[in-house]
Amino acid sequence: MVKPMHPTPMLDELEKGPWPSFVTGIKRLAKDNNMAVDLLGQLEHSYETRMGHWKGGTLGVIGYGGGIIPRFSEIKNPDGGYRFPDAGEFHTLRIMPAAGMHYDTNTLRQLCDVWVKHGSGLIALHGQSGDIMFQGADSASVQKAFDEFNEMGFDLGGAGPALRTSASCIGAARCEQSCFDEAKVHHLVINEFLDELHRPALPYKFKFKFSGCPNDCTNSIQRSDFATIGTWRDNIQTDDAMGQTWFAKHGVNELVNDVIGMCPTRALQLKATKDVKKSAEISSLTLDGSQSLEIDNKSCVRCMHCVNVMTGALAPGKDKGVCILIGGKSVLKIGASMGTVVVPFMKLDSDEDYENYLDLCHRVMDFFADNALEHERTGEMIDRIGLASFLEGIEVDVDANMINRPRMNPYVNMADWPVAAA
């Protein structure tokens, strides 16, 4: 038996227009779902008052310390009861999807079934960190819902001062630019740190993200503490046949203006094929009978631009691996900060490579746990103690690829120069 709808004149405005409407969706739910009815009431109240009306709390599932975002309505009747009682408790379960957010339809439907049984039926696919957010369980249902998701093989995501749910790009599964097995590493890392994920004990949140190449489709540099991004060390690969096809279609003007002219480091030059430099560091693409695109791979910064524009004709090199950047986060306290290079290049092929990688992850996480202040992200910590000290702490050598440019001020005590320069 479903209760009557609250009037929602403001929300109704959001049913207009061509983009799929979340209001229409919630109304669909409300047909047989009192929680959805009251959710609409509460939300309409927010639209009217132009204020949020939820407060947090603490709530969890057995064995875990995080992963649930509890919400209690602050809209009360004079008697202290909830004005929208069926949505008075409206908690979210963060559930981790498999890497790359791939699904078969059966699994998705099964997830829906569980959520209709124990929750509101409202699902956010996905949260900005990469969780499936099952939104709207009352306190009594949280454990039950979790148990069923967990039976299906899904585990809870992160919340609070803990390792957070991670994201990886589609990468190797469908993308020609992929430089490492994103899903595999994503998988390895989460399983390695389940304890940090489920039982918050870090100074503050900590996020991994994995992008297969510098296009960084997971925004890892700005949105994760620990970004792992694919790249390569050797020469850009070229495919003359595809190069000629491209050139025939696009012509020299486009090549000059859109490719050569946009390379950030002038690594590309247009050359008569006979004038192309012969050197181990040069790769080149023939464009037609007489002309070539010359790539000075020593000047190339692996930005991806030419490879993107001329995909197939140009491709990342063969000596692939990853670059690691640490310290990305949002705006709090010091202003938004990006991760900065901590490992310019690391192979990720052999088992030994993976071990090295996980070992580094541990050193970083341990150092963070031991040295960050409360509610301090890695980026803030590094800002406070200096990159050099951080590197020392995690036992990584300094490298000129870590900087945009050396210091421009003499404000440094270099008494230990001889040691550092040795």
Binding site: I26, R50, G52, A98, H102, T105
Partner: protein, 362 residues
């Protein structure tokens, strides 16, 4: 932490572990894993990937409302089964991609999606779906709604989602407080508080750990004090930058206000490393009203910015790269937005954002 459980049920130990994605991969993805060669876009909303063996897969991409009722999810599943091949994946921006193995399936699948109200597009140099946050629907600190802002914005921009008419990809985000869970974007719509927190002194001592709150303030504007004999906090309003960071750890320091909550617009954020290095978005408009339910003033400004970029950007120039070429004066001219003193960075290290050169645009 309270652990709600039915008294009767035996304690179930969770099975901890991250689910393997192998079984969810479309067979073409699995077969050509790590072995792709190139791709093209036969039309907006369709990606055509070719592997080194010559194998092909088409991915059809559509937008969603992200906050989906289970009917919508089942609807998508049904389409995947009837017109696709039973697999689907979500993108980082809540779009769905349906992989199919033959070109013949592309057009019917598109038709079915559009028929069911799912716009097809969002690939290449189109306008993406907006990176979405929680807002009034769920967050405990929001200054505006997220789903509503996104819905009204995408209604307005759906043509640009469906077509690839921009100089390069356009990534949008919205955030319902200054924390900015939506991230850096080509155009970002973010709440901007314009008043210091109003403090409910009666509640502070009960709810807030005062040293924690004091430590959160980026400009050290909060001091412990005693009000009416009770420990409370006070704010140096001259110092306060109205960031709202004190509100989450101390809700009695109310930062939200229906009228003082304004919307700011930021442009030129970029996450990829293509051409230019990643960069943060920059403030270009503020003081816009938090005008639920459809935020017309915000959408008008977003559209103006997009149209200026569309008209003037060169191929492959992202929003910020376009502005770097034409210069900030021209940006403000072309978008008819006022340049104000608030845009001059005075945060730590902000000097690097002043023009220490005669590089001038006239």
């Amino acid at each position: 932490m309270s652990q709600p459980q039915s008294a009767a049920a035996p304690v179930r130990k969770p099975v901890e572990g991250f689910l393997d994605n192998k079984k969810f991969l479309h067979p073409k993805f699995a077969a050509n894993y790590g072995n792709w060669k190139t791709h093209d876009r036969p039309r907006p909303g369709v990606l055509h990937h070719v592997s080194k063996t010559g194998d092909e897969v088409w991915s059809i991409k559509c937008g969603t409302q992200r906050q989906m009722d289970h009917y919508t999810v089942r609807n998508l599943c049904d389409i995947a089964d009837s017109h696709g091949e039973g697999f689907m994946r979500f993108t980082m921006r809540s779009c769905v991609e349906f992989p199919v193995s033959t070109e013949a399936k592309v057009a019917p699948l598109i038709a079915e999606l559009e028929k069911n109200g799912f716009p097809v597009g969002g690939t290449g140099n189109s306008v993406s779906m907006v990176a979405h946050t929680q807002g009034w629907l769920h967050c405990d600190i929001p200054g505006t709604d997220a789903s509503g802002v996104v819905k009204s914005m995408m209604d307005d921009l759906i043509d640009e989602f469906r077509h690839e008419n921009m100089p390069n990809r356009v990534k949008l985000s919205t955030s319902c407080c200054e924390i900015n869970c939506g991230g850096q974007a080509d155009i970002a719509v973010v709440v901007q508080y314009t008043k210091p927190p109003k403090i409910n002194h009666d509640l502070v001592s009960a709810i807030c750990e005062r040293p924690t709150v004091v430590a959160r303030c980026p400009v050290a504007a909060i001091r412990p004090t005693i009000i009416n004999g009770k420990p409370s906090l006070e704010v140096d309003e001259k110092k306060c930058v109205c960031c709202g960071a004190c509100f989450p750890p101390c809700p009695p320091m109310q930062i939200n206000d229906p009228d003082a909550n304004k919307i700011a617009i930021w442009v030129g954020g970029k996450n990829s490393n293509a051409r230019s290095k990643p960069t943060f978005h920059k403030l270009v408009a503020a003081g816009l009203p938090n005008n639920a339910p459809r935020w017309p003033e915000v959408n008008a400004v977003v559209r103006r910015i997009l149209m200026a970029y569309k008209a003037d950007g060169r191929p492959w120039e992202r929003m910020g790269e376009w502005i770097d070429r034409i210069g900030w004066p021209a940006f403000f001219e072309k978008t008819d937005l006022p340049f104000t003193k608030h845009m001059i960075d005075d945060w730590r290290g902000g000097r690097v954002n002043l023009n220490a050169s005669t590089h001038l645009h006239f």
